[in-house]
Amino acid sequence: MKTTPQKRQRRHNPLFNRRGFLKTTLQASAFASVAPMVVHGAVLGRDGGVSPSERIVMGGIGIGNRGRYVLSCFLPHPDVQFVAVCDVQQKRRESVKKMIDDQNGTKDCSMIQDFREVLARTDIDAVLIATGPNWHATLATMAAKAGKDVYCEKPCTKNIAQSLLLRDVFRRTGRVFQAGTQRRSLPNFMFAIDLARFGKLGKLHTLYAHPGGLDPKQSGWLPAEPEPEKEVVDWNMFLGPAAWRPYNKKLMDAFNFEKGGGLVGGGCLEWGSHCVDLCQWANNADDTAPIEYEPKDGQLHAKYPNGVKLIMRNDGWLKMGSCPVRFEGETGWVETGDNADIAASDPALLVGRGAKIAGYPADFHVRNFLDCVKSRGMTRANADVACQAHIACHAANIALYLKRQVHFDPVKNVFIGDDEANRLRSEALREPWRI
């Protein structure tokens, strides 16, 4: 009897087979890791003390829950010093100041309400941007134009036009940019990607990305509520580049406000900005994007210029935690996710997989950013890379929104013969903001 592909996968999946799991562990530990180095500290002489002139002085902008976590990944590095926190909410400013002051052993961290004051400070080299997605691209590009390097949470852009502008601004300004897609710096994802990139799976034919949803959203307007004092909540600054609407407390969830896009956002951007990004890398496609996108059977099917298929799907995954990806080639496959397990068609593929670091920490990604600030090198999730990965997600969202196939030209960055789709590539920013 023929076995279905799914059955074959299960049979070979170490997670469904304790023997396989033991086998995997055994083989993975047989050699020292040859996973790509996640830090290059020795290269940059970062193994000793840090003089003040080598210290990277930073400010944090929009530091809510996620921001506090990423900030906690920055603070332990001896070559970083945070000196300012900026947020439109007073409570957050105060709590993050305490966090920074406790680390620094001082009371000096500035609390700033308007981020432009942070950008104007000449003592600040770099900023951590963890506002809601509504602000990301606008703020990141303003920071670059002010001469700051930027670590920016994802999704980094609201549409295709912003993605291209983000790329162009960071090229033009020469500033260092790291998108907060930290899976690019985690050993299990890097190992799986290397298997795909360097031919260990044979010729690639299909990539799978978990999008964390395939339901594109538009944002709108809630009934007006009494607006708090500006000092408590600066509503105008919270809205920022989003079209005007009155204050409503429910909109103060910055993480979800205009999530990843106003005209057509949400959708596959939530995890896609991670998982699609990883597929781009696995396919050596960091400089391009898929050319076809089609909603199909509750999934989104896309195709790259080199013929490799990209499938965004919410189910059908092995149990490996959030943000899983799977790469299939002519001779093998590999799948991994946030629990850091790696399953492969043949456990021998996993030899040398290196340390298992679960829970998708941002520490390594942060270190990569700091090293690049010093070396003026290209980060793993630099603006060029982030631009293309986000374009792929936005184009997919547009196909989902329009409920039909769209064809995209990744050189001209336009949809081919599709006025409707092309109009969804950008959205005006509220005055006075621009990119």
Binding site: K23, A30, M37, P216, A348, G377, K403, A428, E431
Partner: protein, 655 residues
């Protein structure tokens, strides 16, 4: 929400649109784009409140054409709706939208003017250059900045002229923003390959008294616009003592095309200081120009540590077989960072040529080099290495032996099992024996039952350690013969072998149903295990078998556990059963748990499990009464306030 009578016809649609964060998929119904446009225009022209007009503006960005422009244009002066109107006006094609934006400029001030000019910039309306140029001397810096940026985005000689003139006469406040417009305009020239025009503007900025960041952008552009003639300027920047200028030079070094640039940068490597050398190497490698390869190879071989580590890690980008000797040399370096970088690169490099280069060296190699090549054979999965591996498994060098056995584990087949069984029997050290066992386990794990017959003699060896190795290897293979041997070993004459056999059975591969036969010996352990620990391990293994056997229905699973319960004597074992029952969402499991809740020693665990099962989302086939009864049992038997509260809330929610 305030609504007007005029919109009763639009009814639910408009109401829906005004709910923020609502989901809007494109309407796939029969309504044409023209119909949609008519509907949205009607809303905009009405006296509807602003919240009703906002989303129609967005929809007109998709479905609107010139007919929508007259309805949108008046909103440019509306503080609340201007930003919404511009969403549509930026997107609608045709001169009508351009004209509406241009016409609005003289009538607007402050932020609304800024927003409108921003939109003109996005649309790149060349007819707006004069009107924008007129705003470069406005008293409001925001207005000047917006006009300058818009002119920069529009580009062209007319914009350039206006911006250049403004730059030379700008105030201290407006100079930075006009410089930004100049840079944007120059970028447009550069993209259009109008290099002379671009260079003039970049030069104007870099020579002006502008902020450092603008100056750096001017320098970068000035170099790129000069193409190969920009190389001297690039080198000058690379030699700058200023970190900012050096940093921008590194970025520009990645961008300026041409082999002449690569050569000049390679030559520059000798001039720069050691710390800058690494940074320049990284920039050179990012150029992806094969001309840089010889220089990188040379540096990878002969330079100080930091540079070597960086360079060795970059060689895979060129995938050149001539790098193999240099990388192998690095891979055996005593410095761990150097060795790791070289070995990682050798692992990543693609192709049979690289495999062949390594295999060519394997027979002639010895010591550390031989060890590294063998490890690479595993990492690269070079099956051609297998014949050499058995010989290497008895090499005089322990590192080579260890690597050979580990590689056999991942590359070997059943063909090597006989030799490995012989090897493990003759092993002179615990390390060698361990290595051989792992090799056997690896092969048996991959080949399954094929090699069991060859392994079985190990379980009858006089040496108890070898018998235990045999059991562990058989567990990797699975199947009835292996299971029989392990079951028999429970009665081995040596107690440590018995321990090993029981542990192996309790964690027998859960390849259900193929290995379902393990249930019987596991139950046997629970009933008649010689030690209490055997009974517990038997129970644990049996419960694992029940839980993970996908062939068993929920009812079968509960029955299997119910059958086991009378054999479980102590609370710890009973808790294992409760844990298993708690993972089975069914009425039968609720019944069993309710019974267990009557035992004071395990009442808390059982009560909590009841609550969890009874509140399982989508619990099917369980009557309301059965759930209520189970929850009441939990409340009656639990002394834990949290559990009782949770059970009480669940009871209330059952309607």
């Amino acid at each position: 929400m305030k609504r007007t009578k005029n919109f009763s016809l639009l009814g639910a649609t408009v109401l829906f649109l005004t709910i923020a964060q609502a989901t809007f998929a494109a309407d796939s119904g029969n309504e044409s784009a023209a119909d949609k446009q008519r509907k949205f225009i009607a809303i905009l022209k009405s006296d509807a409140p602003p919240q009703d007009k906002a989303i129609p503006c967005k929809q007109l960005a998709i479905y609107g054409n010139k007919e929508a422009v007259p309805a949108l244009a008046p909103l440019l002066a509306d503080k609340e709706l201007s930003s919404w109107a511009r969403i549509a006006l930026e997107a609608i094609p045709g001169p009508e939208a351009d004209e509406a934006l241009r016409t609005a400029v003289p009538k607007l001030q402050g932020l609304l003017l800024v927003g409108t000019m921003n939109s003109i910039g996005v649309r790149r309306d060349a007819k707006a250059v004069d009107i924008l140029a007129g705003k470069l001397t406005d008293g409001d810096v925001e207005v000047v900045a917006s006009a300058a940026a818009a002119l920069g985005k529009i580009g062209g000689k007319q914009s350039a002229k206006a911006l250049n003139q403004a730059l030379s006469s700008a105030s201290k406040q407006t100079l930075p923003v006009i410089a930004e417009g100049c840079i944007l305009c120059a970028e447009r020239f550069l993209a259009d390959e109008k290099f002379t025009d671009a260079a003039q503007l970049y030069d104007a900025v870099r020579k002006a008294d502008v902020p450092l960041q603008r100056k750096l952008e001017g320098i970068r552009g000035a170099i790129l616009a000069r193409q190969s003639d920009g190389i001297p300027m690039l080198l000058e920047q690379l030699r700058s003592p200023e970190k900012a200028e050096f940093g921008m030079a590194l970025r520009t070094a990645r961008e300026l095309p041409g082999s002449a640039t690569t050569e000049a940068l390679s030559a520059e490597l000798k001039r720069v200081t050691a710390d800058r050398q690494v940074m320049l190497l990284l920039a050179l490698a990012d150029r992806k120009d094969s001309a840089v390869y010889p220089k990188l190879l040379e540096t990878a071989e002969k330079s100080f540590k930091a540079t070597r580590v960086a360079t060795l890690g970059l060689l895979d980008r060129f995938n050149n077989v001539s790098a193999v000797p240099v990388l192998l040399n690095g891979a055996i370096d005593e410095d761990a960072d150097i060795a790791h970088a070289a070995k990682s690169t050798l692992t990543r490099m693609e192709g049979k040529k690289i495999d062949a280069a390594l295999m060519d060296r394997l027979p002639k190699s010895s010591g550390k080099t031989r060890q590294v090549i063998i490890e690479l054979a595993a990492l690269r999965r070079i099956e051609a290495a297998v014949p050499v591996l058995l010989a290497s498994a008895v090499d005089a060098d322990p590192g080579v032996r260890r690597a050979a056995l580990a590689t056999l584990s991942s590359l070997g087949s059943e063909k090597q099992v006989g030799d490995l069984v012989s090897l493990i029997s003759k092993a002179k050290s615990a390390d060698d024996r361990d290595g051989a066992e792992k090799a056997l386990a690896g092969i048996c794990g991959r080949t399954g039952t094929k090699a069991v017959a060859l392994v079985l003699p190990l379980t009858k060896n006089n040496d108890s350690e070898l018998r235990k190795s045999g059991l562990r290897v058989l567990a990797m293979a699975g199947g009835p013969e292996a299971l029989g041997a392990v079951t028999a070993a429970v009665n081995d004459s040596d107690e440590s072998v018995q321990d090993e056999a029981v542990g192996t059975l309790a964690t027998w591969p859960n390849n259900w149903p193929e290995d379902g036969a393990v249930a019987e010996p596991l139950l046997g352990l629970v009933k008649t295990g010689k030690k209490r620990s055997y009974q517990v391990q038997g129970a644990r293994g049996y419960l694992l078998y029940v839980q993970e056997n996908k062939k068993l229905s929920n009812a079968d699973k509960v029955k299997a556990i119910d059958d086991l319960l009378p054999l479980l004597k102590q609370p710890p074992e009973k808790r294992l059963a409760i844990s298993a029952l708690g993972g089975i969402p069914s009425g039968k499991s609720l019944d069993s748990l309710s019974t267990l809740a009557g035992d004071p020693a395990i009442a808390e665990e059982a009560s909590l499990a009841i609550v969890n099962v009874a509140t399982t989302k989508g619990l099917q086939g369980v009557s309301k009464e059965a759930r209520q009864k189970a929850l009441q049992t939990a409340i009656a038997n639990s002394k834990n306030e949290a559990t009782r509260t949770k059970a009480g809330e669940a009871l209330k929610s059952i309607k």
